[in-house]
């Protein structure tokens, strides 16, 4: 009897997406405090899970019951609309109950320590805490003292793991892989947690990473993490598969790191002309919010190579994957 092997090719829905390769490891951890602690398998698992989560955004009912009855607290000690909104949508799409606390550090000024602030919240038994804090290492600290899982939404200058994950997801979605790609990251490298997370993730996944910025804004010793460092934007962008622009803040100019925003743009800004040095299918990326005319020209930000809005959309899917993978579940496959 003829075995039917390629029947997938002759049905109406001709190309059913193949199952992504199943990762060996599971996300066996309570917290996500940084890319530093993640293995290649875990990173792949998160990205693969995000593919499944992405589909939910196109449904009529954009909700699945996976985190039903779970309480997720968004504890932001630093103002952020974009990241917080992204997490909130992700949490709600998984049917979790969400709570936003804009904890100003004034509570700390009044004398309450970070530990006490969080313990008070923990007393109400949240399942997960999504935390953004201006101090590097704050999430490591909290992960040790909290029973709940802690997801780092950005700690000081240290890491912003979900941003790096959504950046990698965006690149992988367009290019099919991360290994062997040339990725240039340009801007205020010194103060950027997005940079540190991206360097860790991209090098771990085998990409060829080039960093570019004025020497005053390059962190000491970064060559040791296996990246190229240059102050020539042309060299960084030459033949690049993806270019990530990082925000330049006005305070940096006032801090004397470079003389003026205009000069910064002239030397390091991503202009259409500079984009032409990259590969014809280059991705122009930015974690946002953008300073048009400082690190990136308007026409590049809105141009055909820009995937900046895709990054935002993917952020929700990636955060859904992280929330789901951290919130525990059954050991075995379901009984049929």
């Amino acid at each position: 009897m003829k075995a039917e092997t390629q029947s997938a090719t002759n049905s109406t829905s001709a190309a059913l997406p193949a199952d992504p390769p199943i990762s060996a490891n599971r996300l066996r951890r309570k917290d996500l405090v940084g890319i530093a602690e993640l293995s290649v398998e875990e990173i792949t698992l998160i990205l693969d899970t995000a593919v499944a989560m992405q589909e939910i955004a196109s449904r009529p009912i954009k909700k699945v019951p996976a985190l039903r009855g779970k309480t997720v607290v968004n504890l932001f000690f630093e103002a952020s609309t974009r990241t917080r909104t992204s997490f909130e949508i992700a949490e709600k799409r998984l049917s979790a109950d969400t709570l936003n606390i804009a904890a100003s550090t004034s509570a700390v000024v009044k004398g309450e320590t970070l530990a006490d602030t969080v313990r008070n919240i923990e007393a109400m038994s949240p399942d997960l805490l999504v935390v953004r804090h201006p101090s590097s290492g704050a999430c490591h600290f909290l992960s040790r003292i909290c029973r709940s899982g802690v997801i780092n939404a950005g700690d000081g200058m240290h890491e912003h793991p979900t941003q790096a994950l959504l950046d990698a997801f965006t690149i992988r979605e367009r290019k099919g892989r991360l290994a062997g790609l040339k990725v240039a990251i340009c801007g205020d490298l010194l103060h950027s947690r997005v940079l540190r997370s991206n360097v860790l993730l991209l090098t771990r996944m085998g990409a060829d990473v080039w960093l570019c910025g004025p020497p005053t804004l390059v962190p000491t010793g970064f060559e040791q993490s296996g990246v190229h460092v240059t102050s020539s934007i042309d060299e960084a962008v030459e033949g690049a598969d993806a270019v990530m622009m990082l925000r330049i803040q006005l305070e940096r100019m006032l801090g004397g790191y470079f003389p003026s925003l205009r000069e910064y743009f002239n030397v390091f800004g991503m202009t259409a002309e500079r984009v032409r040095r990259a590969r014809p299918d280059v991705l122009i990326m930015h974690p946002g919010p953008m300073n048009r005319g400082v690190e990136i020209a308007s026409d590049v930000a809105d141009g055909p190579y820009s995937v900046i809005l895709d990054q935002v959309a993917n952020g929700v899917a990636v955060r859904m994957a992280v929330l789901y993978l951290l919130s525990g579940g059954a050991e075995h496959e379901a009984v049929a």
Binding site: T113, G137, A138, H140, F141, H158, R196, T220, G221
Partner: protein
């Protein structure tokens, strides 16, 4: 009361002794040192346990006792008790108390408290500037008369070159060393860790090595200009060490000290694993491997004069915060000798003789206090160590009020056996076999 310490191995560089000797103590003085001293009647004979080494009392010339004003972190009583347990017969305490020790009144208060409750000798260090504000000199003559052995604004650098020049010139009148915490404030910025790869990856603002070395060079130039003595506190970088070496070669009166944590730890410890442990946060910060290697060289070769702990107690709640917020500093009185024995002596970096120079001879000479040798007539301040007896650091048993140390649980080869101050035993380590012979320990009245 006479006590005869019999049959111990005495290491006394100033007497040129490194061998078995008997030491006779009479009251608060050393009476005699020699071979096979007879035990006259009324003399208490203490048989020194085998393996123990008798040394002139160790003096820690960089300690923060926190009293007056911050008694929740440490008191003179608890700090000196920790010192005794660490094998120190004396400590020099820094003036950044509340109020600052910039007047005879505060100096006297410290000395009175020490006389009442201190387990070991306390030598106050006065402030260079009033209130440690870095603006005008404190009344240094008065401080000297009241009992200060040095001046420093430690916690901060002596703010300006001009102030440092004046301090050196003025203090030079009294032969008072000026101790500087060398750090250029604008380069140091808001740094919390050593500026290097580890701090970069951890997103911690960096304190560059140059912030230290540039100030060391300033102080060396001023010492040369004024002819006065400057002592560099807690030196941590190879660049600063190079500066000190070159200055000594030119005959300038500069000395320097190094802390045990700066020869035992590097900044890599912050990342292995990544923990943001605030017990690794101190100023100057833990430096790179190359700096530690240079310091080990300096300890051996003589560029480094003193091992001092910079014992900086902080209450647990104060350290139980985000890294950026935590105060700088760790305690060190009770781990200094074991770390020195384990890492330096057993590590082949220095000999016991050199250890005695670093911890007794040189601090006493720099501070110009009696001690550094057990020559007859000198104070009966004796540190007895047991270099082969291992110990495990157990912070829960520390005599300090604070627990901020990264060494908890470390097993180190080398212990303090007993500490004798002015002829009386103030500490006995029951874990060292035979040490009970020195006891029982009394709190110094």
């Amino acid at each position: 009361m006479k006590r005869l310490l019999k049959g111990g191995h005495l290491v006394d560089p100033l007497q040129g002794i490194d061998g078995v000797r008997d030491v006779l103590l009479d009251g608060d003085r050393v009476a005699e040192v020699g071979h096979d001293l007879p035990a006259a009647e009324g003399v208490e004979v203490v048989v020194v346990p085998p393996g123990c080494v008798i040394c002139p009392g160790f003096v820690d010339m960089h300690v923060h006792l926190r009293e007056p004003g911050q008694e929740h972190k440490e008191t003179i009583a608890s700090g000196t008790a920790a010192a005794a347990a660490g094998g120190f017969t004396g400590v020099a305490c820094m003036p950044n108390t509340q109020p600052v020790n910039d007047s005879a009144a505060v100096t006297r208060a410290i000395l009175e408290r020490a006389a009442l409750a201190g387990a070991v000798r306390v030598y106050p260090i006065g402030a260079v500037s009033k209130g440690m504000k870095g603006e005008s000199l404190s009344e240094i003559a008065e401080l000297c008369e009241a009992g200060c052995v040095a001046i420093s604004d430690d916690g901060r650098p002596v703010a300006t070159a001009l102030l440092m020049r004046r301090a050196l010139e003025y203090a030079g009148m009294f032969n008072l060393p000026v101790i500087d915490h060398c750090e250029e404030p604008t380069l140091r910025g808001e740094g919390v860790a050593h500026e290097g790869y580890v701090a970069s990856m951890l997103g911690l603002r960096g304190i560059p090595a140059t912030a230290e070395s540039i100030m060391v060079e300033r102080d060396i130039a001023l010492a040369e200009m004024t002819g006065s003595a400057v002592h560099i506190a807690h030196l941590s970088t190879r660049q600063a060490l190079r500066g000190v070496w070159a200055a000594k070669a030119r005959g300038i009166a500069v000395t320097c000290e190094v802390t045990p944590h700066h020869f035992a730890l590097t900044d890599e410890r912050l990342a292995a694993p990544v923990s943001y442990d605030t017990n690794l946060k101190m100023n100057p910060p833990l430096r790179e491997r190359a700096d530690v290697d240079a310091i080990l060289q300096g300890l051996r070769a003589g560029t480094v004069d003193v091992i001092a702990t910079d014992h900086a107690p902080h209450q647990r709640d104060e350290k139980h915060v985000e890294f950026d917020r935590a105060p700088f500093g760790i305690i060190g009185l009770e781990t200094a000798v074991p770390l020195t024995l384990d890492r330096l002596v057993h590590g082949g970096v220095i000999t016991l003789r050199r250890m005695v120079q670093l911890m007794s001879v040189n601090p006493c000479r720099i501070l110009n206090v009696p001690g550094g040798t057990l020559r007859p007539g000198r104070p009966a301040d004796v540190t007895i160590i047991a270099p082969s007896v291992p110990m495990t650091v157990d912070l829960s048993k520390s005599r300090s009020l604070s627990r901020n140390s990264p060494f908890d649980g470390w097993t180190l080869r080398g212990s303090v056996a007993a500490t004798i101050v002015a002829g009386r035993t103030v500490y006995v380590n029951s874990e060292v076999p035979g040490a009970a012979a020195f006891g029982p320990a009394v709190a110094r009245a």
